[in-house]
Symmetry: C2
Subunit: 138 residues, 2 copies
DNA sequence: TCTTGACTTAGACAATGTCCAATGTAGGAT
DNA sequence: ATCCTACATTGGACATTGTCTAAGTCAAGA
C-alpha cells in the first residue's frame, strides 16, 4: 500500500476501491490532472466509478492537505499531489505544460508592510509564465 | 470621453453604446468585477445589453491589454481595469476582497536559472492570501 | 456474520462561458 | 443628409466544469 493510502487510513478513511484508484492515479510527483482527467484514468481501472465520487475524493484530499488545487488558466482546476514540499508553478503559454518549481527566498518578503493594508498575509501563490523549449523550437 | 474610450477609438473600435457602458462600468481603479457583475451594472444603464456582448467586449479589452483577467478563486474570472501599472493581488480568505498591491523587486528574480527548465520566463503572477482587518475583527 | 453509518451512484441542476444565425447600426462613402 | 456594408449585437442553444440529492451499496467494527 502506498504511503498516501496509509495516511488516509490513519485518518479514519474507509478505503474503498474508488478512493484507491483515485489515489493511485495521483500517485507520482509530476502530474497536474484536471478532475475529468483523473476520472478518465480512474475509470480505466474501475469503469463504474462516478464523476461525483472523483470530485468528492479530490475535495477531501485537498481539504486534508494531501493534494493542492491549482488553477493556472481560469478553466478546470488541476490537482497536484506534490503537496509535501511547498512549490510554485511554471506554465508554458504555448502548450499549457505545468512544471513544479522552487523559487529562492520567502515569497511573502516581497510584499512591504505598507502594501499589506492591515491584512495578516499568510501565503503567496506564484505562477510563472513563459515558453517551454519545445514550443520555442516549434 | 474617457481616456479608455479614446484609446479604443484610436484602435479602430466602433464606439457602440454597449461598449461605452462596459467601459464606463470598468472605469475606475479598484473594481474587480466578474463578467456577470459587469453585465448587471451595464444593464442598469442599457437594459437590453446581451451577456454575449459583455463577454465579447471584455475579451477584446483583455486581448488589447486594457484590462487584466484575474482568477483568484477558480470560479468566475474577474476583470481588472488597472492594467497600466503592473501589480499583484492580495485576497482575503474570509470575504474574498481583492486589493491591488505592488511588491518590491522583480518577481522573476526569485526563480533561479536551474529552476527554469529551459523555459523563457516572461511573467509572474502572484496572489497573496491572508485575512483582512474586517474579517480578523469579526 | 451482521449492522450501520459512511460511501457511491446516476442524473438533475447550477454556474460560467462560447457559439451561431439573424438582425441592427456606426461611420465612411456618396 | 442619406446610403452601404462590414462589423457589432442579440437571444438562445450549447459546452464545460462543478455541486447536490435520494436511493442503493459496502467496509469495517461488534
Amino acid at each position: 500500500m502506498s504511503d498516501l493510502l496509509e495516511r488516509l487510513r490513519d485518518r479514519g478513511w474507509r478505503l474503498t476501491a474508488q478512493r484507491r484508484v483515485v489515489a493511485e492515479v495521483l500517485d507520482g510527483d509530476h502530474v497536474h490532472y484536471t478532475a475529468d482527467e483523473v476520472h478518465a484514468r480512474a475509470a480505466a481501472r474501475l469503469p463504474e466509478i462516478a464523476r461525483a465520487t472523483v470530485y468528492n475524493t479530490l475535495s477531501e484530499l485537498v481539504s486534508i492537505g494531501e493534494v493542492i488545487e491549482v488553477s493556472t488558466d481560469g478553466r478546470a482546476k488541476r490537482y497536484d499531489p506534490n503537496a509535501r514540499r511547498t512549490h510554485q508553478h511554471l506554465v508554458c503559454s504555448g502548450c499549457g505544460t505545468i512544471r513544479d518549481v522552487h523559487p529562492s527566498g520567502d515569497p511573502l518578503a516581497g510584499l512591504p508592510e505598507t502594501e499589506r493594508f492591515g491584512f495578516t498575509v499568510s501565503d503567496a501563490t506564484i505562477t510563472y509564465r513563459g515558453t517551454c523549449p519545445q514550443c520555442a523550437a516549434g
